[in-house]
Amino acid sequence: MTPTATAAPDIQSWITDALERAGKREEPGWALDQRRSGAAHARALGFPTREHELWRRIDFRTLENSFARLDPFRASPATRNLDDLPPALLERLGAETGRIGLIVQRNADVVIEQNAPELARQGVIVSSLDHAVVKHADLLKGRLGSLIAPDYDGYAAMGAMLRSGGAFVYVPDGVEAAVPIRLLQWLDGTGQIAAPRNVIVLGKGARATIVEEMHSDAGDGDAIAFHLGGTEVFVGDDAKLVYGTLQEWGGHVYHYSNQRADIGRNAELQWIQTVLGGRMVKSNSYFNLIAPGGQAFVHGFMFGDGRQQFHLHTLQRHLADHCTSDLLIKGCLKDRARSVYQGLIQVAEGAQRTDAYQANRNLVLSDTARADSIPGLEILANDVRCTHGATIGSVDPEQMYYLQARGLPKNDAQRLIVEGFFAPVIDRIPLEGIRDHLRTIIQRKIG
């Protein structure tokens, strides 16, 4: 392959387009400046190289080779109401559409934004980010772009520059959002980039449950699509947020995303992340415990088959004393799938009485699959309790024997064991419909 094959994207023309489109929506100057700064960083940083510790174990070159030819602004096909959505997505929505807050993004645009009447009465805002950045500029300024540094890496920079769609959720002080809020994203076909940015804000003592889902069609041949996501979460003092994600892209989607959460005094974040789809997935989730008493409970799983590659990076950042973080990431791999879990607990100087836990469990179902686990600790305070554990192993032959001895075929026995392995994470997913769907996908993947 010649070096010219990785033709760098034409940053100049992309930023010009991005600014023009944003200008038409009357995006305020500070937001446009963020796009410009993203462009400058994208130019300076380029694609991450293998020298970068977080990029040594995953290879995005196939994406990078065709990057310049992807369309970062593909409009959605006409979607006036729910019935125009692809059937697969409609099925995901089920019957509860009228009673929830709902944002649906298709390609680069949000096509449906609907706030439930109960939520509207409570003063809860559920909006596309594109609208919110104009209408609720006061709430977004200083928050949008403040947690995901545009110079984090070349992709984060491009995400800041291209930002297209995403959701804004705001729950005022003391309000307990009456119904769940669902954020859905769909990608039509290949050859495009969607770069949504979500901003979630919970005021003091607020409560909310949010579920984000990512789906697409099955793709077509070797062509690819790219999801370049970002989510910035602000959990106010005494607030509690339950945030679940379900990622079920087709095999043509490359996924890169950054998730960041600031957790306030005595606040609680329950974060559940499930990764099932996509060809290659790179996700960086940072949980910042910024004030005493904050708590972060992080649960995630990934299930790879075929030639899927997943790279999950988490950072539990204890910046204040008396905080708790508890993380469990489970991975299951079959065929030639590969996963990397790279996690770190950081305890800042003075963050005494920290209680931090990090566990990574991996179940490898085939001898051609590969799992890497890199759990780390960086501790700069002494009055702490920090523990991590990681295991990699195959299905326990005794468990298999037990089940098979009771007449279960091998496949069913394996399915039961894998379901059992994932159960502690699935049980934390807030909505029953989504839990059921996850079980269906797992069954399908085990085959």
Binding site: V364, P375, I379, L380, A381, N382, D383, G389, T391
Partner: protein, 470 residues
């Protein structure tokens, strides 16, 4: 001494016990800095065969080409051109302490080496700056065909055997510091244990840096033939100078089928030494390799002894203790590479940081394709004794097989208030109670040390714990 006050709070007693230095009386000293001429000169001085000279010169090229590591502690302050790469202390190597020049003998007497030799050891090597000045092994072992020589003597007297193994475990291209060592190596031990021979009392080497701004690059090659056993112990100290020294060793070990090798290090360099060491062993069918690695001294240590398990049934064990006090950064750990089925490994790491020190574990468990039914467990515990100190854990697990059992656990904590309270309520004062708890913490590793080292280690920990609770 001006260096004394800087050293006092860290490892009390070090300056008096180990930090002294003799007047520099070397018989030859290369000029400062490193280039082809210096490397060629070292080789010529030693009267080496041409292949070794060429090997050194090639390694120098590799060293110059390789970038500094981009990870781990900051090494950018090392000024490679300010170091003396070769300091020859005496004109020859001695077999009797009486022949060793008085100054040096006094040094080793102070360190207790000749005494230990009589009491507990099968053989002793003592290296002073660049060369081994004393080497002796018990006659009965010599008769059994056990070789215990300085690496230079090994090359001279057993060239065929030496050449067969030298650089096969750690090629000069392995990393920047292995390349440096390959270019300027001098001293170290060469050990061969013939088939089936059990050396039941440890062999020991003692490394001492005396000259200021000196780099010590010893090279050790150990071959344990089928069914044999050897325990090799090394200790290191250096004077406390205000400028920094560099110690960059390469240790290669071959453990053949059914053999067992244990390699114990008590590293107690003074706090001005950069200790950047590459240690690696290959273990064949049903062989066992054990590293017991204690890191107490140095300014920065980067050392990850590794075991490559090449054939079924091989077993690797790494026990690592790191103690980081003021101004110290111990980046220790270990690597186990499972290259064959039915191999097993165990890593236990205990690190303690105090007075702003930084101690950590960095390790790798790798299971290569085909190494089915491999088992590995890693346990890392860290104790942080005050709020200014730091502990890091970076375990890497790279698993390319499914029928394996791999586990890793790590905890970081402080000395428990309940534990302290319990001991104090029984009339033990706070300082002593803390020292007892730390001794208990490292006990699983200390108990693996030879008796006299275990005593010494406990004493060092006691010393370092003084004044730590208050």
């Amino acid at each position: 001494m001006s260096t004394e006050s800087a050293n006092l709070d860290l490892r009390e007693g070090y300056t008096e016990k180990y930090g002294f230095h003799d007047a520099e009386q070397s018989v030859f000293k290369s000029r400062r800095g490193l280039d082809k001429d210096v490397v060629a000169q070292i080789s010529d001085m030693k009267g080496e065969p041409v292949w070794m000279k060429n090997y050194r010169l090639k390694a120098l090229e590799i060293f110059e080409k390789k970038p500094m590591p981009t990870w781990g502690p900051d090494l950018s302050v090392i000024d490679f051109q300010n170091i003396f790469y070769y300091v020859k202390p005496t004109s020859e190597e001695f077999k009797s302490w009486d022949d060793v020049p008085a100054d040096m003998k006094r040094t080793f007497d102070k360190l207790g080496i000749p005494e230990a030799e009589q009491k507990f050891l099968s053989g002793v090597g003592a290296q002073y700056d660049s060369e081994v000045v004393y080497h002796k092994i018990q006659e009965k072992l010599e008769k059994l065909g056990v070789l215990f020589l300085s690496c230079d003597q090994g090359l001279k007297e057993h060239e065929a055997l030496f050449k067969q193994y030298f650089g096969t475990v750690i090629p000069s291209t392995d990393n920047k510091f292995a390349a440096l060592n390959s270019a300027v190596w001098s001293g170290g031990s060469f050990i061969y244990v013939p088939k089936g021979v059990h050396v039941d009392v440890p062999l020991q080497a003692y490394f001492r840096i005396n000259t200021k701004d000196m780099g010590q690059f010893e090279r050790t090659l150990i071959i344990v033939d089928e069914g044999a056993f050897v325990h090799y112990v090394e200790g290191c100290t250096a004077p406390t100078y205000s400028s920094d020294s560099l110690h960059s060793a390469v240790v290669e070990i071959i453990v053949k089928a059914g053999a067992r090798c244990r390699y114990t290090t008590i590293q107690n360099w003074s706090n001005n030494v950069y200790n950047l060491v590459t240690k690696r062993a290959v273990a064949y069918r049903n062989a066992t390799m054990e590293w017991v690695d204690g890191n107490l001294g140095s300014k920065i240590t980067q050392k990850y002894p590794s075991v490559y398990m090449m054939e079924p049934g091989a077993h690797g064990e790494i026990l690592s203790i790191a103690f980081a006090g003021k101004g110290q950064h111990q980046d220790a750990g270990g690597k186990v590479i499972h290259c064959a089925p039915n191999t097993s490994s165990k890593i236990i790491s205990k690190s303690i940081s105090k007075d702003g020190g930084r101690a950590g574990y960095r390790g790798l468990v790798k299971v290569q394709k085909g190494a089915v039914d491999s088992r590995s467990t890693v346990n890392c515990d860290a104790l942080i004794l005050d709020e200014r100190s730091r502990s890091d854990t970076y375990p890497y697990m790279e698993i390319e097989e499914d029928r394996v059992t791999i586990g890793h656990e790590a905890t970081v904590s402080k000395i428990g208030d309940e534990q302290l309270f319990y001991l104090q309520s029984r009339g033990i004062d706070k300082e002593e109670a803390a020292a007892m708890i730390v001794s208990g913490f490292i006990e699983p590793i200390v108990k693996e040390l030879p008796m006299e080292y275990a005593v010494e280690m406990n004493r060092l920990i006691q010393l370092q714990m003084e004044g730590s609770v208050g």
